[in-house]
Structures are given as C-alpha cells and as structure tokens.
Symmetry: C2
Subunit: 91 residues, 2 copies
DNA sequence: TCCATCGTTCGAATTATTTCGAACCTTTTA
DNA sequence: TAAAAGGTTCGAAATAATTCGAACGATGGA
C-alpha cells in the first residue's frame, strides 16, 4: 500500500477519490496525454495494493477508495497520507 | 518518504528507531548476512527521504528517527505507518 | 605510527517498474 | 449486427532501484 501511494500520480488519483467514486474517465492525470494502457496500469497497481476498487459500470469503470478495508488494516494511515501537504517531496 | 518506508527492510529499521537512537551496528536486518554496503544504501534512502538522521559517533554512526520534522511535514503519517499491523503485506 | 573497526561511495550487474502500442473484450448505440 | 466507446491485458523497450565487491575515509587502540 505504501508503495502504491508513493507515486505522485497514483497518490493524486487516490486524492480524487476521497470525495466519492469516479468513473475512470473522470480521473485526471497530471499529463492528460498518457495512453490509456498506462493509465490502466496505474489503476492496477492501486487495485492490487488494495487501495482502490474497480467495478464495471456500463461500459465504463467505477473507481472507489477502499476506505473501510484500509482503515481496518492500517488505522489512520490513509487519512494521514491524503491530508499530507500536497506538494510534499522536498527534504 | 512513502517510498522509503514502502520497503519492508527499511520500515523495519524505522521501527527499531522508535524507542530511541541506535548505532548502525545495532540495527538488525532480517538477513544478517547482507554486505555492509547494502545496509549503508538502505540507510541512505531513509536519510535522503528525511526519515532518519545519521550523525558520527566515534567511529560508529548514530541513527535516529526525525520525528519532529516528519510529524511537522506529514502529521500522523509516521505514527500510522509505525503502528500498522506488523506483517501487513497481503491484500 | 600502524592497524583494525565502522561506515561511505563508486561502478557494474541484476532485478523490478514504468511506459507504450497492439490486440482483445464487453457494453452501448446506430 | 456492425461499429464505436471505454478499458484491460500482453510483450517488448526504456528507466529506475537494488545488490554487491572493491576502494576509500575517519576514528580509536596498541
């Protein structure tokens, strides 16, 4: 999970899902021109790590944060990560 | 920081430092046979990410968690990470 | 001073992640 | 039923991270 969220792009996706589920097409990457296969792969990493759920929704895909599961397994972690200073990467 | 702690070995090191500083030689890796250069590199990643401090101490090196700095920049994150279920990697 | 101890840094080899296009699948619309 | 929309999966190429040995630096003790 930490690994999945340690990538800025994936973290940004997780942040977008805080306020509720979004269809894949509604999740925006910092660079809007990345191929769909790349975007799909980013989602896969999040999904595999248990951060995100990905259910079919018509011909789209509905993404949602797995809050309950994550809070149960890593109490406080998700909140801390998501609320951390946005542009935090310096040291 | 998330990246630095997303490695089990590095996370384990951080955990060992929760109760106070330790000399490098007192930090134990899961495999005690890894070369010192590898161990040193693990420390470097933690240091670069701002997780750990590394001051000279005689001919040894004293490692310590940078709690205050981390808590200031990422409130709650360190606590959440460190208190997360120990063997947590399944999904 | 000489030498052993404790670590760091460097470079090369191995291994893991990321990225992309192409092929494919399912659902919706014409 | 054909075709478009929205995504996934696969494989190969490019990047990045890890690992290790060898060479180096500083400190402390004989």
């Amino acid at each position: 999970m930490l690994f999945a969220l340690s990538d800025p792009e994936r973290l940004a996706i997780a942040r977008q899902l805080v306020d509720g589920p979004l269809d894949m097409a509604e999740c925006h990457l910092s660079n809007p021109d990345v191929p769909k296969s790349t975007k799909s792969h980013l989602m896969k990493v999040l999904r595999t790590a248990g951060v995100v759920r990905n259910e079919a929704n018509g011909r789209a895909r509905r993404l949602s944060l797995r809050r309950e599961d994550l809070d149960a397994r890593f109490p406080g972690l998700l909140d801390a990560v998501l609320s951390a200073e946005e542009g935090a990467s310096k040291s």
